[in-house]
C-alpha cells in the first residue's frame, strides 16, 4: 500500500522510542559490565577501556558456575516434566477419550490464573520434605508450567488427523509408543513453546529461591546475583557483569528458537 494512511502519531517517533526504551538500558548495563570499578566510581557514563575483571570477579565471588548449573538443572528438568505431564493430560482431552473431557480442560485452564503462592507452598515443602533440596525445588516448579502446556498441546493435537490413531491401533502400537513416535514429532513446535515458556518461568524466578532454598550451594543465578545488590557501591560493576552472565543463556536460547516459534505460529493457524 503506497498511500499513506492518516496517522495519529508519527511512526518514526514510535520506532525511535522503542529503540531508546528497549535497547539503551540493556546496552548501558552491558557497558557497565566492562568498566573497571574504579573507572565506574569516577565517570560511570563513559566506557573507558574495556575491563573484563568484573566477569571473573562476579563469577568467582558469587560462584556463578555452580549457580548456572543449578539454574539449568532446575529449569530444564522442571519444564520437561511439566511439558510431558501436560501431554499426558492434553491427549485424552484432545481425542475426547474421557466423558468429562471439556470439564477437565476448564479445570486445567483456570490453572493459568493460579499464582505461584509461596506462603502455602513453603508450608507444603516443609511437610513433604521438599524444602532446601534440589529434587524438592524441581518438583515444586513443575505445576506452574502445566496449565499452559495442557492448553497449547490440546490445540496442537486436535490438528493431528485421527487416521493416524487408527493406523497405530491396527498396528498394535501401545499408548506411549504411539505418543513418542507419532504425536510428539508432529506437535514439536507446540511442545517447544510450552517447554520454553515453562523454562523461562523457572529460570527467572527470584521469590522461589528466596523462600524455598537456604543452602547457598543450591542457589540459581538469579539468587546469586541478587547478593551483589544491596552491598556497597564498588559492587555495582560486578552486579552488571553478573547480569550479563545470567542473561546470556536465555538470550541465546531465545534467539535460536525464533525460527521454530515463527513456524509454530503459522502451523497453529495464528498469523504472526
Amino acid at each position: 500500500m503506497t498511500v499513506r494512511r492518516p496517522r495519529l502519531v508519527s511512526g518514526t517517533a514510535i520506532g525511535i522510542l522503542i529503540v531508546l526504551l528497549f535497547l539503551v538500558p540493556v546496552l548501558y548495563v552491558v557497558m557497565m559490565a566492562f568498566e573497571s570499578p574504579s573507572h565506574f566510581l569516577t565517570s560511570p557514563l563513559t566506557p573507558g577501556s574495556p575491563d573484563v575483571s568484573n566477569f571473573s570477579g562476579s563469577w568467582s565471588s558469587a560462584d556463578l558456575g555452580v549457580e548456572l548449573l543449578n539454574t539449568i538443572l532446575y529449569s530444564v528438568v522442571a519444564s520437561a516434566l511439566s511439558t510431558l505431564l501436560g501431554l499426558a493430560i492434553a491427549f485424552p482431552i484432545a481425542r475426547r477419550l474421557l466423558r468429562g473431557h471439556s470439564l477437565l480442560y476448564t479445570f486445567c485452564f483456570i490453572g493459568l490464573f493460579l499464582p505461584f503462592s509461596v506462603i502455602p507452598l513453603f508450608a507444603e515443602s516443609r511437610i513433604l520434605d521438599l524444602y532446601n533440596n534440589r529434587i524438592g525445588y524441581i518438583i515444586l516448579h513443575v505445576e506452574p508450567g502445566l496449565p499452559l502446556a495442557v492448553v497449547l498441546l490440546t490445540a496442537a493435537i486436535v490438528s493431528v488427523p485421527h487416521e493416524l490413531d487408527e493406523a497405530a491401533y491396527m498396528e498394535g502400537a501401545g499408548y506411549l509408543t504411539y505418543l513418542r513416535r507419532v504425536i510428539v514429532p508432529l506437535i514439536r513446535p507446540a511442545l517447544l513453546i510450552a517447554f520454553l515458556y515453562g523454562m523461562l518461568g523457572v529460570w527467572n524466578d527470584i521469590i522461589g529461591p528466596v523462600v524455598l532454598l537456604a543452602d547457598p550451594s543450591l542457589f540459581p543465578v538469579t539468587r546469586g546475583i541478587y547478593n551483589f545488590f544491596g552491598s556497597n557501591e564498588s559492587q555495582w560493576t560486578l552486579l552488571a557483569a553478573g547480569i550479563v552472565i545470567a542473561s546470556l543463556p536465555v538470550v541465546i536460547l531465545f534467539a535460536a528458537s525464533q525460527r521454530q516459534i515463527n513456524r509454530a505460529s503459522v502451523v497453529g493457524g495464528v498469523k504472526g
Binding site: 494512511r5 492518516p6 495519529l8 502519531v9 511512526g11 514510535i14 520506532g15 522503542i18 529503540v19 526504551l21 528497549f22 539503551v24 538500558p25 540493556v26 565506574f40 566510581l41 560511570p44 557514563l45 505431564l85 485424552p92 477419550l97 490453572g111 490464573f113 493460579l114 499464582p115 503462592s117 509461596v118 506462603i119 502455602p120 507452598l121 513453603f122 508450608a123 507444603e124 513443575v142 505445576e143 502445566l146 490413531d165 487408527e166 491401533y169 498394535g172 501401545g174 499408548y175 506411549l176 523461562l200 527467572n204 524466578d205 527470584i206 523462600v211 538469579t222 546475583i225 557501591e233 552488571a240 547480569i243 545470567a246 542473561s247 538470550v251 531465545f254 495464528v270 498469523k271 504472526g272
Partner: protein
C-alpha cells in the same frame, strides 16, 4: 423385487472408521485403544493430575486453612487455631500498612493495566508489519519477558541509580535530584513504569494478532468517506480489537493483582510500593516478621478481591464482544 430391511444392524466386520455406507459418524476413538493402552493412558493422566492438584489446588486450600492459624516459619513453634483474629487485625491498626496496601494495589493495578494496553496498542500498530525492521522491533519489545523480572529489575535499578546512573546524570543536567526508587515520590511511578516495560511485549503481540485479523477493505471503505486517524481508531480499529482487548485487560488485571516479584526486586515494598501481595510476602518472610498465618489471610483477601474485580470485568468485556460481533 424389493427387499425391505427391518432395521439395519452394523455389520460386525465393518471397518473401524472408513465411512461404512450405513454410518456416517466415525466410532469414538476410545474404542480404538486397546485395554492395556487405556490403562497406561489413565495412569499417566492421573499422575499429571495429581501433580496439578497437589501443587496447584491444594496450596489454595492450605492458604485458607493457614489464615486461621498463627503458623510461623520458626522451627519448633506451635501452631494454634486463632480463629478470625488474622482477619480482624486487618481492620484495626493492629496490622500496620494494610490500608496503604489496598491503595497501593489499586493504583498499581489500574495504572499498569491502562498503561500496558495503551503501550501495547501503539507498539502493535508500529510492529505489525512483515518487514525486517518490524521483526527486530518485536524481538526488542519481547526481550524483557525473556530476561525475567530479576534481570529487568536489576537493569532498571542500575539505570535509576540515584548517584551514578544515567537517569541521575540526565536530571542533574537540569539541576534536579531524585532518589528514584529510594523515595516516596517516584518509587511507585517508577515501579509502574518498569512493570509496563516488562509486560508490554505480551500485550503488543496480542494486539498484533488482533490487528492482523481485521479486514483491510474496511479501512478503504472508511477512507472514501473521509476519516481521520483518531476516528479510525475509535470507531473501527478499537471495536474490532475487542477480543484482544478482553484478553489483554483481563491478564493485566489478574497479573498485576497477584504479582509482586518485580516490586520485591525494585523496592521490597518500601516507599509506598507495598501492594497486598508484597505485604503478604513481607509479613511471612520479611526481616522482622514470620507471621505466615497473617500473610495467608492477606492472600485470601487478595484472592477474593481479584475474583470480585475480575469476574464482573470478564463478563462485561465478553458482553461487549458479543454486542460488537453479533
Amino acid at each position: 423385487m424389493t427387499t425391505v430391511r427391518l432395521g439395519s444392524r452394523p455389520s460386525a466386520v465393518a471397518p473401524a472408521g472408513a465411512g461404512a455406507a450405513a454410518k456416517t459418524r466415525r466410532p469414538r476413538p476410545a474404542r480404538l485403544l486397546s485395554r492395556g493402552s487405556r490403562v497406561t493412558m489413565w495412569a499417566c493422566l492421573l499422575v499429571a493430575l495429581a501433580v496439578y492438584v497437589l501443587f496447584g489446588i491444594v496450596p489454595m486450600i492450605a492458604n485458607v486453612v493457614m489464615s486461621f492459624t498463627n503458623y510461623t516459619a520458626l522451627p519448633g513453634a506451635s501452631v494454634n487455631n486463632v480463629g478470625f483474629s488474622n482477619y480482624s487485625a486487618m481492620y484495626t491498626t493492629q496490622a500496620p500498612g494494610f490500608d496503604q496496601a489496598i491503595v497501593a494495589t489499586l493504583v498499581f493495578v489500574v495504572a499498569t493495566t491502562i498503561g500496558q494496553n495503551i503501550v501495547g496498542l501503539v507498539f502493535a500498530h508500529k510492529l505489525r508489519g512483515e518487514g525486517r525492521a518490524a521483526a527486530v522491533g518485536r524481538v526488542l519489545v519481547f526481550m524483557p519477558i525473556a530476561l525475567g523480572v530479576t534481570i529487568v529489575g536489576l537493569i532498571w535499578i542500575l539505570f535509576f541509580n540515584p548517584d551514578q546512573g544515567p537517569a541521575a546524570s540526565l536530571l542533574g543536567a537540569f539541576g534536579v535530584h531524585s532518589a528514584f526508587f529510594g523515595g516516596d515520590n517516584w518509587a511507585m511511578p517508577l515501579v509502574i513504569f518498569v512493570q509496563i516495560w516488562q509486560n508490554a511485549g505480551f500485550s503488543t503481540l496480542v494486539f498484533i494478532g488482533g490487528l492482523r485479523a481485521i479486514n483491510p477493505s474496511i479501512y478503504e471503505a472508511a477512507k472514501m468517506d473521509g476519516i481521520n486517524g483518531w476516528q479510525r481508531l475509535r470507531r473501527i480499529t478499537f471495536p474490532l480489537l475487542a477480543p484482544s482487548v478482553t484478553v489483554n485487560v483481563l491478564l493485566a488485571v489478574v497479573g498485576s493483582f497477584t504479582t509482586y516479584n518485580l516490586i520485591y526486586v525494585l523496592t521490597d515494598g518500601q516507599y509506598g510500593t507495598q501492594t497486598l501481595g508484597m505485604l503478604a510476602f513481607n509479613a511471612a518472610f520479611g526481616s522482622f516478621q514470620a507471621n505466615l498465618g497473617y500473610g495467608a489471610a492477606v492472600l485470601v483477601f487478595l484472592f477474593v478481591v481479584t475474583l470480585v474485580v475480575a469476574i464482573p470485568l470478564m463478563l462485561l468485556l465478553r458482553y461487549r464482544e458479543r454486542r460488537l460481533f453479533g
